[in-house]
């Protein structure tokens, strides 16, 4: 249900070491890859749309990543050319040029050219793709000087590192010849995609499965892909998903498709690799969100006291079973150069929290209660529900009574982001590629009421707003990173939102799959080198 890409620099190795808990790295060089076989993948939810240029979500890429390819992908060594072979930016940042790969054919036999890129960029990325509409809002035109060169023209400077960070997720060209002149949102290929990838779409049975089979004309060469077929099965019940893994009916369960109790149990089973490797790009924050319209919460001391009252390490151990680390503001530790850990922190200290609440003018009453808060937990699965309960229990210990208002997804999104009917809320939000197209919306004021995952908290700072806008079009990567470090520091000092815990997703993978989780966005990638040892 979420997407993200992270940016990688020298920090990557450190971040990986910290995250990779039990994932066993398989030395693929030691074995000769075998051709053939069907990989079966479990999915918890179903996006029902299979067009990555209309819906930016890992739930879509998990399937379409094998069928439709992006211009650029990401590997542990940096950006990897896929449909684009070279890229460059003009001095003023107003023109970005991609050289496109020659000799690539769509699955229906047509050539892949700049027309496809131009059509998709102008009609889908700029108009219809969530998050991309912000990224591409200043895109004026995509010119095609020759069939294999695409020139993106912007009315305001577009930082190259922002564009690159966004492209693996938000840069999938679709075949123009199948979309031109049709109602794009109702085009039949949205659920039966035609791409250039190593696998061709075969069948989508809603609520049951998707099948894709080997593309014999794949541009990387005859030996790729190794697999004959991939099947995605929708198994919503997490216990049933764990049973399917154990019975050998499923080879991979990604994005925490089984319960955490089963994650822990299967991690001790030597038939499976369990871990967070391959999710470095898919890091999310578990948050505490404040409604600053409430005068109690508008007091910075109260927010800081709440942070001090939360035993983050205990939450990580009990809820996330160690597969997480404490948050440090709106950029996660996998955020590359834009990340800094030089920020104010709030270590767990109940006595200090109590003292700060006294100081703020909220002494405990006769019943030990200082004040009451109405809290909305997001229904995004095990983490968010348990984190809400953990939060309520922690605050009870310092004399804050938290009433939890349980709600389903539309109820939560409208209750918090449109009606502002909450005191505190907790959710989970992914870092997407670059702060400019992801977490900055938590701090930037001015989003219309009802826009989910934005600053609907009644918190506003002119300084922060100006800095966010400047960073989004700053061309010098170093200056840009400096701005994001400053924004992180302000966010940790002012606490408009608590970015309490950062956690990647977890996969349970059968050891029969070889070459799995070998890129930082593996579950979204093309799997051309994945093979089955059986």
């Amino acid at each position: 249900m979420n997407i993200s890409t992270g940016r990688f620099g020298p920090l990557l190795a450190g971040a990986m070491a910290a995250f990779a808990v039990t994932a066993a790295a398989v030395d693929a060089d030691a074995q000769e890859p075998k051709r053939g076989g069907t990989a079966i993948i479990q999915m918890k939810g179903e996006q029902r749309i299979l067009n990555p240029a209309l819906r930016a979500s890992t739930g879509v890429y998990y399937i379409t990543g094998k069928i439709v390819e992006p211009l650029i992908d990401k590997s542990y060594d940096g950006y990897e050319p896929v449909l684009a072979t070279e890229w460059s930016s003009s001095e003023d940042g107003l023109e970005i040029t991609f050289k496109l790969r020659e000799g690539v054919k769509w699955h229906d036999g047509e050539d892949f050219t700049c027309d496809d890129v131009s059509f998709t960029a102008m009609n889908m990325w700029k108009e219809l793709l969530n998050y991309s509409t912000t990224l591409q809002q200043n895109l004026e035109a995509v010119d095609c000087p020759d069939p294999h060169t695409a020139v993106f023209k912007y009315s305001k400077p577009m930082p190259m590192d922002l564009m690159l960070a966004a492209m693996p997720d938000l840069g999938h060209p679709m075949p123009a010849h199948l979309y031109e002149g049709t109602d794009i949102l109702k085009n039949e290929h949205n659920t039966a995609p035609v791409g250039t990838g190593p696998f061709k779409f075969v069948e989508y049975q809603r609520g049951q499965y998707v099948i894709a089979e080997r593309n014999d004309d794949y541009w990387r060469g005859e030996e790729y892909p190794y697999l004959d077929r991939i099947v995605w099965r929708f198994i919503t019940d997490s216990s049933a998903a764990a049973a399917a893994l154990e019975a050998g009916e499923v080879h991979e369960s990604g994005f925490i498709g089984v319960s955490m109790a089963d994650v822990e149990r299967l991690s001790e089973d030597d038939r499976f690799d369990v871990g967070t490797k391959g999710y470095e790009n898919n890091v999310a924050h578990s948050t505490v969100e404040f409604n600053h319209r409430n005068p109690i919460l508008a007091d910075l001391k109260v927010r800081q006291a709440i942070y001090h009252a939360l035993d983050i390490d205990a939450a990580i151990e009990t809820i996330m079973r160690g597969y997480a680390k404490p948050g440090r503001g709106p950029v996660p530790s996998t955020g590359g150069a834009n990340y800094t850990d030089d920020v104010p922190t709030y270590p767990f200290d109940i006595e200090k929290a109590k003292a700060m609440l006294d100081e703020a003018g909220y002494p405990a009453g006769d019943d030990g209660v200082r004040f009451k808060l109405r809290h909305r937990p997001a229904p995004w699965g095990e983490y968010t529900q348990l984190w809400a309960e953990f939060y309520a229990q922690s605050l009870k210990k310092v004399g804050i009574d938290v009433e939890i208002l349980t709600n389903d997804a539309p109820g939560f999104l409208t209750g918090v982001y449109r009606d502002h009917d909450f005191d505190t809320a907790n959710g989970w939000h992914q870092f997407r590629a670059d702060p400019a197209v992801s977490t900055m919306v938590w701090l930037r004021s001015g989003s219309p009421n009802g826009t989910p995952w934005t600053n609907q908290f009644g918190w506003q700072s002119d300084e922060v707003d100006a800095m966010i806008d400047a960073a989004a079009s700053e061309l010098d990567p170093e200056k840009r990173a400096e701005m994001y470090h400053e924004l992180q520091r302000i966010s940790m000092a002012e606490l408009p939102v608590i970015f309490a815990i950062e956690h990647p997703f977890i996969s349970v993978t059968s050891k029969k799959l070889i070459n799995h989780h070998n890129t930082p966005r593996w579950n979204s990638s093309s799997w051309y080198d994945l093979w089955l040892d059986q």
Binding site: R48, N190, T191, R206, T236
Partner: protein, 324 residues
């Protein structure tokens, strides 16, 4: 043909009822917080304001509720159930894809439950308060009290994970590409555990009702008369007692048949079966109004039809009851 006239009258009476149900359901569903765009955006992991506004205009959700209701009803009266924005397909297609699985599962479960429930109930009643009765009644109680998700998961652990006899879930082996009898056998294997899980609970209902009903009827005067004129135990049981004892069981069967299209959310989700139950649940969570209205429509039609059939069956079982 009085029965045809009777059927026609019942059908005509049903039309305003169904229209009222549809209007009521539409307004009720609109009371829930949030709409399908909120749900879709939630699924995507977020979107920006322009995107959301555009989607809402595209789906007609920016219009006042009365306009939306008017548009829906106009289409509905032409038997057009609209477009599901969640599935990106016409609602009729979404429903047709699901209905087969649900019918197969529910028909198998109800048949199994009815046959065995009635049989066991009758045996238990004839041997009332014996060991046989105690065993049957206790089993019934256990089935009745076991939550279906627990029963389902335990069966999966035993028969799929430990023994490896039966598939964990789904309706067929996806990458098997079986055809002909192999396909039938494959689907049957996949349905064994869900059918068992669902029918054991229904079975308990029928068993207890049948036992009580047979005990009651067996005390009646006409049974004593039949016994006095020399009817054998078997004839007494099948001809005299069971026929009358079945009436309340038929009532229950009629009621449960009405929920047939609803399927079972729990069993369908544990066994990953694409049925109407999980579709209805998903549609509520997704605020997929058109799909949900389609399901409500089908269900109301089935309720009306089953009520009619139940009445016919009553008249057949007990000729004192007349159709009017």
């Amino acid at each position: 043909m009085p029965i045809l006239i009777y059927a026609l009258r019942r059908a005509l009476q049903a039309v305003p009822v169904i229209i009222l149900i549809m209007i009521g359901a539409f307004l009720l569903l609109k009371l829930a917080p949030g709409d399908t765009v909120d749900a879709l955006v939630g699924d995507m992991g977020g979107a920006d304001a322009q995107f959301i506004a555009r989607l809402r205009a595209e789906y007609g959700l920016d219009q006042p509720i009365w306009v939306q209701l008017w548009r829906y009803m106009i289409k509905f009266l032409q038997f057009d159930f609209g477009w599901s924005f969640v599935y990106e397909q016409p609602v009729s297609v979404v429903l047709m894809e699901r209905i087969g699985t649900t019918l197969m599962l529910m028909a198998a479960s109800l048949f199994f439950a009815f046959t065995f429930g009635v049989g066991l109930g009758a045996i238990a009643a004839r041997k009332a308060y014996s060991t046989t009765d105690n065993v049957i009644s206790t089993l019934g109680l256990v089935f009745y009290a076991t939550p279906s998700f627990f029963l389902s998961l335990m069966m999966i652990v035993v028969f799929s994970v430990k023994l490896g006899w039966l598939p964990v879930g789904g309706i067929k082996t996806v990458a098997g590409f079986y055809t002909g009898w192999k396909h039938v056998w494959d689907v049957a294997l996949h349905l064994v555990m869900p059918t068992a899980a669902l029918s054991l609970i229904y079975l308990a209902f029928y068993l207890r009702l049948m036992r009580a009903s047979v005990l009651e009827v067996a005390e009646l005067d006409y049974v004593r008369t039949a016994r006095a004129k020399g009817a054998g135990e078997a004839r007494l049981m099948f001809h005299h007692i069971m026929r009358n004892a079945l009436l309340p069981v038929i009532t229950l069967l009629g009621l449960q048949f009405s929920t047939l299209l609803g399927g079972s959310v729990v069993v369908e989700s544990v066994f990953s079966l694409p049925g109407l139950g999980s579709l209805a649940y998903q549609s509520v969570v997704q605020r997929d109004l058109n799909t949900l209205m389609g399901i409500i429509f089908m269900s109301s039609v089935v309720v009306v039809a089953v009520n009619f059939l139940t009445d016919l069956l009553y008249a057949r079982l007990d000729s004192r009851i007349e159709l009017a």
